[in-house]
Symmetry: C2
């Protein structure tokens, strides 16, 4: 367990208790507000370092997912020197009108960066977008794994998941 | 003129020539693709340093605007130790359902970070959101000022604009 990061995430106040509807539509008695931990520069810097150290050999780019994991990918990029792309949920409708922003070549290996994985719907959507564009995705990292089936869904799609912290470590009990 | 940054932006290939429709709907013969310069870690790092040095006294937070300037605010935040918020264009419809993500208090002074200013519609929208929430905004920075009236519109709203680079410097002529 990464005790330093667990404590840091808790101290930012990112873990909230109450009645929440998650992006998946699921109800939950706790919510990990990624924007609270990732807008804290000390915490964001530590996360960026952690992610930079996990970048697998052969990776050519990181990928941040609109919008929550963009700060994570940006800081990990600067920390590692590894360029990144931004994966949109939908095109803008003007300008270059792309689903993947940044510079990339077909066939490149991309390491996906995600903030919180619950059902992994967001990550899976981005991975499909990247793969449909001809990019190779077989590994990803998330800051928090809520341990609610997302990892398994990703593994079924051939994506190995690294998590910096699990919800049970954050909460001190299995949710 | 910041020759180092001008050259760096050009070398990333972010300045494209052709027929473009900008987010404002205006037609243009050139397009500065922010995602190309800000997903380049060396360039992003230099921009983060530049922004960190411009943070006015009394600032309590930076603000990144969905989604283009989020990487800039994130890296400037880590470089400066100044926390940031993310200003959305619209609420998510689930979870905490906010227009301003992150931690903030009414009355705090916020330094807005923007990627490219043309008409400043994006920046003005974010500034209105921040001000309506009770935050104080009177200064901002952008990486590129396209010199097409955006600065003036912002100044009319009492916002002092710092730009790292002007389009005329990037292009070598006044567009």
């Amino acid at each position: 367990m990464d005790t330093e990061l667990v404590e840091m995430l808790k101290q930012t106040g990112a873990v909230k208790f109450g009645d929440f509807t998650l992006s998946s539509g699921r109800k939950s008695t706790y919510y990990v507000d990624k924007y609270i931990f990732e807008t804290n520069p000390v915490c964001l810097s530590v996360i960026g370092d952690r992610i930079a150290k996990l970048i697998p050999a052969g990776t050519r780019r990181l990928a941040g997912i609109e919008i929550g994991s963009i700060p994570l990918a940006a800081v990990a990029s600067v920390k590692s020197g590894m360029p990144f792309v931004v994966v949109r949920k939908a095109t803008k409708g003007y300008g270059t009108n792309k689903l993947i922003e940044g510079v990339w070549q077909k066939g490149e290996k991309v390491f996906v960066v995600e903030d919180v994985v619950t059902t992994a719907r967001g990550a899976l959507g981005a991975i499909h977008t990247l793969r449909e564009a001809g990019l190779a995705v077989d590994e990803m990292v998330c800051v928090v794994d809520r341990e609610e089936g997302g990892r398994e869904s990703l593994e079924q799609e051939g994506v190995k998941v690294r998590s910096l912290v699990k919800s049970s470590e954050l909460l001190g009990y299995k949710p």
